[in-house]
Amino acid sequence: MPSRREFLQAGLAASVVSVVMPIREAAGASPRSAAAPPGRHPLHCVVCDMRSPWSTDFAREAERLGIKVVRTNGDITDFWFHDLSLRWKEAPVAIGGLTAPGALFCLERLGWDHGLRVVFRGTHRLVDTSRAEHAMSGPSSTIAAAQRRGLGGAEWACHVARLVSSCAVERETSSAPLRGVLAGSEAVEHDRLISEEDALTSWVIAPKRA
């Protein structure tokens, strides 16, 4: 049986042809896109949520790694309408992000229609000013890398950017809870706490493997 991706791609070829519009400057997209090493999902871009300082850290690190960053205020409409929907009509390119759950909820479903799936998913919250809790599932080697490196320290969102940007193309998956201690001087301000309800989510959406 063919995959849902194939069927939807076939259907999309018949859809209305539209003019490709540039991503708006206001969306803060940088022009570069990362070339990933073999065995890694090359990311078209990563999405961040400017309302969260952690997501902003994530974006900065992704940019440093040469990945195009799409800055949102939580609403992915502009990114979807002016960029991704057009891109995915051409090819199911992978994307990543550290966002509120709603953005992932939308992008995941929109991705299904183009033959993409969430291949890496993490949730992140800060239970108090010195303790972070993370849970991740995804390609085994990516999860193993997260476990080896740990997600301790106030730099955890940067580590997540590195994990997302190097997410492995791999069938085998695993999951792991991780705790991160933000030691002494790293303890964060109250406005950086993330409650259970506000948990951030990191993710990679990539073409489904046949």
Binding site: M1, F7, L8, A26, T77, F81, C106, E197
Partner: protein
């Protein structure tokens, strides 16, 4: 892979082969992973044995293919369930009423057939989303607006077929009402066109809805007698400008003249969708003691608090569309009427926005109010497992709103737990001639007891609403029997008529069994 109920394994395998012949291999989905995508993300039965699940999905690209798929299904008596874009979140998602049904996924039928900006209509296929239609219009610089629901990823056709609603002007907001003509495949595979479309070579299919003779379009909305493959819609001519004015009234009982006046403005075509609110809603913590009073807080006490705090009791955002001079005249007239009828009414005018909007204006405007599809509804910080909509229709009066508040608050008080309604809750105003007292009940993916509780409350509140003459306009599959049961006038004569029609048009009962509580004869005893 599940097998549809009542179908032998041999027939199922043969039918699958014939489905493949009808739509090609790339249009038939049977793997668990693919079928899993059709689960209702907001299911109130998540992971429970009664969760509604599909057995397979089929994705045709043309009406001819749909017709062939239906013929195969009819031959083997395989239950099928059509979806357009399948994003009916809160009302069932893309899952069928009857577990084991084959979802007929029409996303690949995504052609915009026609948009006319001189006669102001569009004709679309089911898989065209609001985003797609908007892009089609923008790319061609056409001078028409669409009216969209909050999430722009849905389908004008799918949304209209569940009586969906939007945010701009008058009857355009009632999406089924604004449809004009449709094409549908009947359970025997026959293709019909309604209205003027029944006339070969018709020139006014999407303009004059009745054609000649009885109209049957309504049978296809929330119905189960066919698969709609094309639909026409009347579109709003793009207005020159848009402006809001928020009227605030000081006293609790001003809600009665406020709604009365807004109705007058709206039904006379002077304003678009009104949006009600209460500034006191944000001050509930300060009003805790008052709110605990048996029978609710006395109006005078709330008025005193509002006055001390220099807050109004109620607000209504009025939306004006048209040429700037017309907007100015309508705002002046509205202000005059409110000032005369409601002492102390005040106004706050928004900026006059002329189209096309600047980027800055676009960033700040409420997009659905100006016909721009978007996904902002999912842009909150909080994650949630979803919600289940309870959507009772109540009269468009202040008295009805206050009564609905009391009645529904009583239900929550009796059941304990958090109340979704307060003395400041206002109804949704999508419908042109009635209010919807919308509530979103919580759903959980991890805690079955939350869903059980939600289901119990839903069942009770549907009954309580019916006792007060309020029925729901729409509901998730798990509650469609309950809602239909409430529409029981004359020993459920309407349901009996639906069943008679169902049996006549779909004798094998293959089409969307159970949709709106209408079951085919062979399943009538066992209702979901």
């Amino acid at each position: 892979m599940a097998i549809p109920p009542g179908v032998s394994n041999r027939d199922w395998q043969t039918a699958l082969q014939q489905f493949v012949q009808a739509v090609g291999e790339s249009g038939v989905f049977t793997s668990d992973e693919d079928i899993g995508l059709y689960r209702d993300a907001y299911s109130p039965l998540w992971e429970e044995p009664e969760e509604r699940l599909a057995s397979a999905a089929i994705a045709p690209t043309t009406t001819e293919q749909v017709s062939e798929v239906v013929r195969v299904a009819n031959r083997f008596r395989i239950p099928i369930f059509p979806i357009a874009t399948g994003r009916n979140l809160g009302y069932g998602g893309s899952a069928p009423n009857l577990s084991g049904s084959v979802v007929v996924d029409l996303k690949r039928m995504n052609r915009v057939i026609e948009v006319d900006d001189r006669r102001h209509f569009a004709i679309v296929e089911p898989g065209v989303s609001y985003f797609d239609l908007y892009r089609h219009i923008q790319d061609r610089g056409l001078k028409v607006w669409i009216d969209c629901p909050d999430p722009g990823w849905g389908s004008p056709l799918g949304n209209a077929l569940d009586h969906g609603v939007g945010y701009t002007f008058g009857a355009y907001r009632d999406h089924f009402h604004s449809h004009c003509g449709l094409e549908a495949v009947l359970p025997n595979g026959d293709v019909i066109r309604t209205g003027m479309g029944a006339l070969p070579g018709a020139k006014t299919w999407a303009e004059y809805r009745y054609g000649f003779g009885p109209t049957v379009d309504g049978l296809f909305a929330q119905g189960n007698v066919g698969i709609v493959t094309k639909m026409g819609f009347h579109l709003l001519p793009a207005p020159e400008a848009y402006q809001t004015s928020v009227v605030t009234v000081p006293r609790r009982n001003d809600i009665v003249p406020l709604i009365g006046l807004v109705n007058e403005l709206e039904h006379a075509g002077l304003i678009g969708q009104p949006g009600y609110g209460s500034p006191l809603a944000a001050r509930r913590a300060d009003l805790e003691e008052l709110l605990k009073r048996p029978g609710g807080p006395p109006a005078e006490d709330l008025d005193r608090f509002a006055q001390e705090q220099k807050l109004g009791s109620w607000t209504c955002r009025l939306q004006f569309y048209g040429a700037p001079a017309v907007i100015a005249a309508h705002i002046a007239y509205a202000k005059d009427r409110f000032t005369r009828d409601i002492p102390g009414a005040t106004f706050e005018d928004g900026e006059l926005l002329r189209f096309p909007l600047t980027q800055e204006q676009l960033d700040s405007v409420r997009k659905v109010a100006v016909g721009i599809p978007n996904l902002a509804a999912f842009g909150g910080r909080r994650g949630s497992d979803g919600h289940l909509w309870f959507a009772p229709v109540i009269p468009k009066t202040g008295e009805a709103v206050l009564e609905a508040q009391r009645v529904f608050m009583d239900v929550f008080a009796r059941r304990g737990g958090p109340a979704l309604i307060s003395p400041f809750s206002m109804p949704a105003t999508w419908m042109y001639r009635a209010f919807v007292f919308l509530m979103g009940f919580p759903i959980s993916r991890s805690d079955v007891t939350v869903n059980q509780r939600t289901r119990e409350t839903m069942r009770e509140i549907i009954k309580v609403a019916a006792e007060h003459g309020w029925g729901e306009y729409r509901a998730a599959p798990a509650f469609q029997d309950d809602v239909m049961a409430a529409y029981s006038y004359n020993n459920s004569a309407l349901l009996r008529l639906h069943e008679t029609i169902k049996d006549a048009i779909d004798p094998n009962g293959i089409m969307a069994a159970g949709r709106s509580g209408i079951w085919p004869r062979h399943l009538r005893g066992r209702r979901a």
